[in-house]
């Protein structure tokens, strides 16, 4: 009797061990067919080419809602209103229409159509042949100024205004490269400084204040006199 019970217990233990081993072996295998079923669905959603997928990944890193509209010259955009009927001339020459543009941005190495798309002037052209809109011009600038681009995304380069502790769209204004830098001549131009503070030895010479209007702001400046 004891032997029979022993045999049954032994058999049970062996069966459980075998079952457990089978489950362990089967586990990594089981999800595989499901994954295979999912992959065709995924390929339908992602962009077709590898470069487009890379672009999409890149765009996901940009804090989209910060960007604002680029400062177009008045009455000039969309460019296609004039350019649609014009044949693109790729030769380097003196421009007879866009006279206000003088290229001071590595002018020796490039020309208009290196950045502007020759087929559709309402968009820009990257070095790899991809196209971006004017709202995404940071993609174009970031090709050469990679370190600045990286810092701009983090908020170290550039200017943020609005609400400091809110990331909701519209609460923060994060400027595009071209809102501060003229893309054809990106270096900052010198500006007039605001009036200097009163020197301590001149305090007794102040008669009163006068109003000076600078950039729409009224400033009260001391008037000196005996």
């Amino acid at each position: 009797m004891k032997r029979l019970v022993g045999c049954i217990v032994y058999a049970l233990v062996v069966v459980t061990i075998l079952l457990a081993a089978h489950r362990l072996r089967a586990e990594p295998g089981t999800p595989a067919p499901e994954q295979k079923q999912q992959t065709p669905q995924n390929t339908q959603q992602v962009p077709k080419t590898a470069s487009e997928q890379a672009d999409a990944e890149h765009h996901a890193t940009i804090p989209k809602y910060f960007t604002t509209r680029p400062p177009f010259s008045e009455g000039i955009f969309p460019c296609t209103t004039c350019h649609a009927g014009l044949k693109p001339d790729k030769t380097r020459r003196e421009l007879y229409f866009h006279t206000e543009i003088s290229l001071k941005h590595a002018a020796k190495q490039r020309w208009c159509l290196d950045c502007h798309d020759s087929e559709n002037r309402d968009r820009l052209r990257l070095a790899n042949g991809d196209h971006v809109t004017f709202e995404e011009s940071y993609m174009l600038c970031g090709q050469c100024h990679g370190n600045v681009f990286r810092e701009w995304k983090k908020g170290i380069h550039g200017k943020r205004t609005g609400l400091w502790n809110s990331d909701k769209p519209g609460d923060k204004v994060y400027l595009l490269c071209v809102n501060c830098h003229n893309p054809h001549s990106p270096q900052f131009k010198p500006i007039k400084p605001l009036p200097l503070p009163v020197r301590p030895n001149e305090i007794t010479n102040i008669k009163g204040t006068s109003t000076v209007e600078i950039e729409g702001h009224k400033l009260y400046i001391p008037v000196y006199g005996k």
Binding site: R160, N165, C180, F188, P190, I191, L194, P197, I206, P222
Partner: protein, 306 residues
């Protein structure tokens, strides 16, 4: 601490009796002063006030301002935000010394136009000059036609909001202290104008109202804070508060100097937030703090982006 305040109050009460007897002190209100002036004079320390007392004081200030300027002026007395420690970054490679920040600060913080009070001093240095230790030799009164001038660079200096502020330690009436969100503030009602804090501050950041401050009524910023840009009076010290009336809100605006900077040299954020721009720049840039050897631990970081 309580004992010290009580002693001062007792002293003032005795002093007021002395005034009644005809021994008039300059610091005390006139004999025929209204009840509200006396109320202000015996006002509790801001940190000892209950919420109801704060609201009462704020309401009184608002009615006073309405009477004085004929304008609705909002006074807030809200406390610090949780898990926030304000930090500031200033990019010395970008600053062009245009002084836009100086005047944006004056307008935002209701600073006196005459006599002139400015929280920010923009210093000019010659390139290659020994500079960090000798701020006294810097030129604050440069006045060229255009900036930046070749061969020069600029460094704006304002309150560095030290973690170990020297100014608060020396105050005999504890009228100035560091708030939990890191901003060093002044209770103008408790300031007796001894200017010890101005002597203690290594950055020249504190300003004194030598005369009654004047502001044109149309230039008044009606959004004020009790510890920030409310109206100051003759004989009190004031200083930069990172625009406490703007930043101590959720959501709150950037300080006025950050918003005006035409070159984007000024950065502001929460030092406790790992993803804030101030944290990222401290981690990735060459930063320094002014007069670090004095162990004041400023939360104002100068950095170089190029």
């Amino acid at each position: 601490m309580e004992g010290i305040y009580m002693k001062r109050r007792d002293f003032l009460k005795t002093a007021s009796v002395a005034v009644a007897l005809g021994l008039e002190g300059i610091a005390l209100p006139d004999r025929d002063a209204g009840a509200s002036i006396w109320e202000t004079f015996f006002q509790k320390h801001f940190r000892e006030m209950t919420q109801a007392e704060k609201e009462e004081v704020v309401k009184k200030l608002e009615t006073d301002y309405k009477k004085r300027f004929g304008k609705d002026i909002k006074v807030k007395a809200n406390g610090p935000l949780p898990n926030v420690l304000y930090g500031y970054g200033l990019d010395l490679t970008r600053c062009v010394g245009c002084r836009r920040c100086v005047y944006a600060c004056v307008t935002e913080n209701n600073l006196s136009r005459n006599p002139q009070i400015q929280y920010i001093s923009v210093l000019r240095f010659k390139s290659g000059e020994k500079w960090v230790d000798d701020l006294e030799d810097a030129d604050k009164y440069y006045n060229p036609d255009v900036v930046p001038e070749p061969g020069h660079f600029y460094m704006p200096v304002q309150c560095q909001q030290c973690e170990k502020p020297a100014c608060t330690k020396v105050c005999p009436t504890q009228a100035t202290w560091k708030e939990p969100d890191g901003i060093v503030v002044v209770d103008y009602n408790w300031c007796i104008g001894c200017r010890y804090c101005m002597a203690a501050c290594p950055y020249g950041a504190r300003k004194f109202n030598w005369a009654q401050p004047t502001i044109p009524v149309e230039q008044i910023n009606p959004q004020t804070h009790y510890l920030g840009n409310r109206f100051k009076h003759r004989g009190c010290v004031e200083k930069c508060t990172f625009c406490i009336q703007r930043v101590r809100e959720n959501p709150g605006r950037y300080p006025a100097c950050v918003e005006i900077c035409p070159v984007g040299a000024r950065k502001f954020g929460n030092l406790l937030d790992e993803k804030s721009e101030i944290r990222l720049l401290i981690e990735t840039k060459r930063v320094f703090r002014l007069k670090e050897h004095l162990n004041t631990n400023p939360k104002f970081y100068y950095f170089f982006s190029l």
